[in-house]
Point group: C2
Chain length 190, copies 2
């Protein structure tokens, strides 16, 4: 079993309702060695898609996207949820539902860093309902760029996100695929 799955089983917490607490090593406190493993693993799985750029969403996508980018030697763009004053007036913006906030949030990318000639690899910490990743796909499409792959650290397959994204016809990879979290369980696909 790989170090990520071991960590999920030993330190992750099934809080019920499909909520997996991994904020001791993924998305509040980050274990850099584990995150580097995740980046190396995702980089290996997308080694042949000829990506030119990695796209993720702030906040918790930044760490795995950065380590993947380090291993693929590609720039990474993180979509912002608020427009900084340094961004031009004309931007790519899409709305996506936020689980945590219970409302729609904006995902914003500057056209300076996402252009029609890019081959975009989307990386996020979780693939759950697929809504955030779908938002990132829309941003890439708005720029005229080509999405060439979708990668996540953890997939909650029972939330159906993979089905939502399959029509894109690109490889979808997750390091830890969880198929069942009912009754306090954490069951991996393999």
């Amino acid at each position: 079993m790989d170090p990520l799955k071991i960590r999920i089983l030993t330190e992750g917490k099934n809080l019920g309702g499909g909520i997996l607490k991994v904020d001791g090593f993924i998305n509040h406190q980050v274990d850099p060695e584990l995150m580097d493993f995740c980046g190396r693993e995702l980089a290996a799985r997308f080694a042949t898609v000829n990506a030119t750029k990695i796209l993720t969403a702030e906040i918790s996508g930044i760490a795995p996207a950065l380590t993947t980018a380090m291993h693929l030697q590609l720039p990474v763009v993180y979509a912002r949820k608020a427009k900084p004053i340094t961004m031009p007036d004309q931007i790519f913006l899409t709305l996506t539902p936020s689980h945590t906030k219970g409302r729609m949030v904006e995902l914003i990318v500057s056209p300076e860093y996402l252009t029609a000639d890019e081959r975009v690899l989307i990386i996020d910490d979780f693939l759950a309902s697929g809504q955030t990743i779908k938002g990132l796909v829309r941003l890439a499409q708005a720029a005229g760029a080509t999405v060439v792959g979708i990668g996540a650290v953890i997939e909650k397959r029972f939330e159906g996100g993979r089905d939502v994204l399959t029509s894109l016809g690109v490889p979808i990879e997750a390091i830890a695929v969880i198929t069942d979290m009912s009754d306090g369980k954490i069951v991996f696909a393999d």
Copy 2:
């Protein structure tokens, strides 16, 4: 001249009013090789402070804090600006003014990951007015932890943040120290 300063001079933009646009390589699009250089450099400067944890603030602190953490082999905690549902009810919370948002924002850390025995190294992308870093210092102090150093990728020395933090008596380091941005200039300290 180091690769960060070269990049600031060639690709950074002085937008006036003390605003430095570096979102092509630091805080919207990230150059992983440059960010790794920054992490290695900050790790070297704090090699002897015996830190046990790195503390930063989401969003743009995450990348430099993570690469510093990789080189020091320490866990990194990023303070959240909204409380995720996975966080306990009892938290450390402080308010800090946000330049970008023009209002106070919350900085939140879970007591699970910041405890009294920690020696905390604070890392952020910018040291400007010092207000965000002061907020992180308050969080560390609330936990009873010891702040042992403060590091930033870029310091805008003319905004006075260093003076605000000097009373802490800990080493304060920045890779690129900018002393003057008047009249469209970008002048480094050395």
